[in-house]
Symmetry: C2
Subunit: 305 residues, 2 copies
Amino acid sequence: MEITFLGTGAGLPSKERNVTAIALSMLQELNEVWLFDCGEATQHQLLHTTIKPGKINKLFITHMHGDHIYGLPGFLSSRSFQAGTDRPLTIYGPEGIREFIQSALKLSYTRLTYPLTIIEIKEGLLLETEAIKVYTKKLAHGVPSYGFRIVEKDKPGELLVEKLKSNGIRPGPIYGEIKDNPSVTLEDGTIIDRHDFIGHPKKGRTISILGDTKYQAAHKEFVNNSDLFIHEATFAADKETLAADYFHSTNTQAAQLALDANCKQLILTHISSRYRLQEMDQFLEEAKQVFSNTFVAKDLSVFQL
Amino acid sequence: MEITFLGTGAGLPSKERNVTAIALSMLQELNEVWLFDCGEATQHQLLHTTIKPGKINKLFITHMHGDHIYGLPGFLSSRSFQAGTDRPLTIYGPEGIREFIQSALKLSYTRLTYPLTIIEIKEGLLLETEAIKVYTKKLAHGVPSYGFRIVEKDKPGELLVEKLKSNGIRPGPIYGEIKDNPSVTLEDGTIIDRHDFIGHPKKGRTISILGDTKYQAAHKEFVNNSDLFIHEATFAADKETLAADYFHSTNTQAAQLALDANCKQLILTHISSRYRLQEMDQFLEEAKQVFSNTFVAKDLSVFQL
Ligand SMILES: [Zn+2]
Ligand SMILES: [Zn+2]
């Protein structure tokens, strides 16, 4: 998995940071890329990455503030030129997302070439596939704002081929049978217990992404044990009151949540333009005092997981 | 007057050209800046100029295609942070522009701090002030698309102060009276004819801006005698059929119109991303063969008039 921060600013674009969008590439795992939020000029930011708009097949909107959605009509329209007709896209977002998209496309005479599904979200289990589950939770942002918890399912272990061979079982269809059944009886009557010939299951990873929100200790349960936790940090530590007034969080509040929720890694984004890039060392240091495995995203930062 | 090309591409943004927006600064003349079209990321392009969003008080939309309007919600929202409450903005655009703006602002919970007026336009005289007139004309683009002809009114000549002085008339309120009246009788009975003490009137300039359109010889009358003529040139000379099929024009068609309409200067914009910047010499040369005083705009090009 690879996470690309397309925009890491808050509210307004600046020369240093665009407004919010995060791409989660799961090309190896699922051959899919998911996008979280789509602020204005997200399609422009994508031009500076290797991500193909047609590969993005799911788009999650945390909330309806302009700095998180105004790039949608342009992204959707331009995707028609790159995705052809056979690459459906599903958008998950708060109430109003359907009207916003349909109004913009209709009034601009835009016909998409690909099937678009729009799903207005509620709290709970949002989607489940063979490989992954996504949960949502309402945050505290004045308007409906959702967090996303993406849980990769555990994968069964690999067949221990060398061990099978050294037990005299040669490669063939029998390998598939052993993998698929708790026990298999060979032609010679030997009973093979799968358990003895399968490695450890591969633990799925968990990524939690909280969009704009005031700090709430109660968010701890939702992001518990995340391998990667992405949280907004509009303000620095000394601006807790201001942050609360504007339904936003500070760097140290995000770090506290990462610590309390036993997360492995924290990435801060959605940084106010009052903080210039050259001030980020101090901004990061404040958070690290609370939770040491913290990073601050820049535009076009890429993290591997 | 100063014209800044904020975006000069067609349809899709590329790394070289953003989608369409043109700023006409008349700070010395009117203390106003007008914007023509507002493609996605126009507010981002403005960050690279000295133009203050709060100074933009009129915004003209040529047509409702996404590459000309998707930057509107972001521009309007961000302008609230810079313009305060006392800088009204008027938007002139085709039918649908009101619904597009109101839907985007409402669904993103955006309240503007300044008064916004939206006027859906028809052909004819669009607005007239003491200093300027703006006319519109429907072009040929498949969807309603308008051209704008901006006509600066002639300004009366300056008072010939030195001549007045050498005729023994000393500076004072009398100068204003002489300027404002065809003739004035001095205290000593002398009759002063304004005509003798006023310089030549200053001829107003005319700028014509045609948004997306197929070439039409009939557009000649509308742009006649323009000091500056801005025309789209999506394609090069060899793509006339393609251009017509897509309701667009070629570089040489635009040049032909400039020639036929007796314009003084032509600037080409809205260039397809199939043409890279390094190919622009040839692109320009083709147009110059037809109309020599032609320029091709790049993003952030500034022209003085
Ligand atoms: Zn935000
Ligand atoms: Zn266009």
